[in-house]
């Protein structure tokens, strides 16, 4: 794997994490009473934009690697999203959820090292 491929995987991953956080934020906005439809749409559009970049970089990676080889790298997002959910979205992150998320991430790393 070249540095360029590693960078592409990193950018793809970051777009994915940002997209998920923005999407959940948009859904949280719509759950409020008297929410601003314009604000929810803007956040939702930003999430879709992040996913769109993720999609095309993903397709480019697929043209070079086996799906079962590089797809698991996205699993590193488990830890990142659990942390972002707790710190950015102020969700509750119990010790059990943290341990479960770390084990899931380790499982994903093990799969990706194959």
């Amino acid at each position: 794997m070249t540095y360029f491929a590693a960078l592409l995987i990193l950018v793809t991953l970051s777009c994915f994490v940002a997209g998920q956080i923005l999407l959940k934020h948009a859904m949280d906005i719509t759950a409020r009473e008297n929410y601003s439809r314009r604000q929810a749409t803007m956040v939702f559009a930003a999430a879709i934009a992040a996913f769109a970049v993720n999609f095309f970089l993903n397709l480019g990676l697929l043209q070079r690697f086996d799906l079962s080889y590089f797809f698991p790298f996205q699993g590193l997002s488990v830890i990142l999203i659990a942390l972002a959910g707790a710190f950015v979205l102020k969700e509750k992150l119990t010790p059990r959820l943290t341990i479960g998320s770390i084990i899931i991430s380790l499982g994903v790393i093990l799969v990706s090292m194959s």
């Binding site: 043209q63 799969v111 090292m113």
Partner: protein
């Protein structure tokens, strides 16, 4: 009657199940399409744009769009710290599907990773089950 069917269908766990199944189908279709259109010699191939020439990719896009709505229905009801780790069951489904449908090989290390993922999912599932009781 319709209300109870609607509530049953909008259960976040059912939505999550449909979401991960469609997500797996989409990835397999993307790979079939990418395999047909791959041309690594082209300097612009990293953008993935040439993949759009394959119908498999477009069917995958359709499955992805539907699964996005299932995901929205899921995170509307569940916190991301629970829903996202649980959604990682795709990291079991995708390698298994690559093995079954694409003929890719899975090493013993990859199989143990799948076993570890199962363990992690079981650990996450327990507080998630408690959460369901509160819903």
């Amino acid at each position: 009657m319709i209300g109870s069917i609607r509530r049953w269908f909008l259960n976040p766990w059912l939505q999550l199940l449909i979401c991960v199944l469609l997500g797996t189908v989409a990835e397999i279709f993307f790979k079939i399409g990418a395999r047909q259109t791959a041309n690594p010699a082209n300097a612009w191939s990293w953008t993935g744009l040439s993949g759009l020439r394959s119908n498999w990719v477009w069917i995958g896009v359709l499955a992805s769009i539907v699964s996005l709505f299932n995901w929205l229905a899921t995170i509307r009801r569940l916190p991301l710290t629970v829903a996202f780790p649980a959604a990682n069951v795709v990291h079991i489904l995708v390698p298994l599907s690559s093995w079954i449908f694409l003929g890719e090989t899975l090493s013993s290390r990859r199989w143990s990773g799948i076993a570890l993922l199962l363990l992690g999912l079981l650990i996450v599932a327990q507080p998630a089950a408690k959460l369901e009781e509160r819903l």
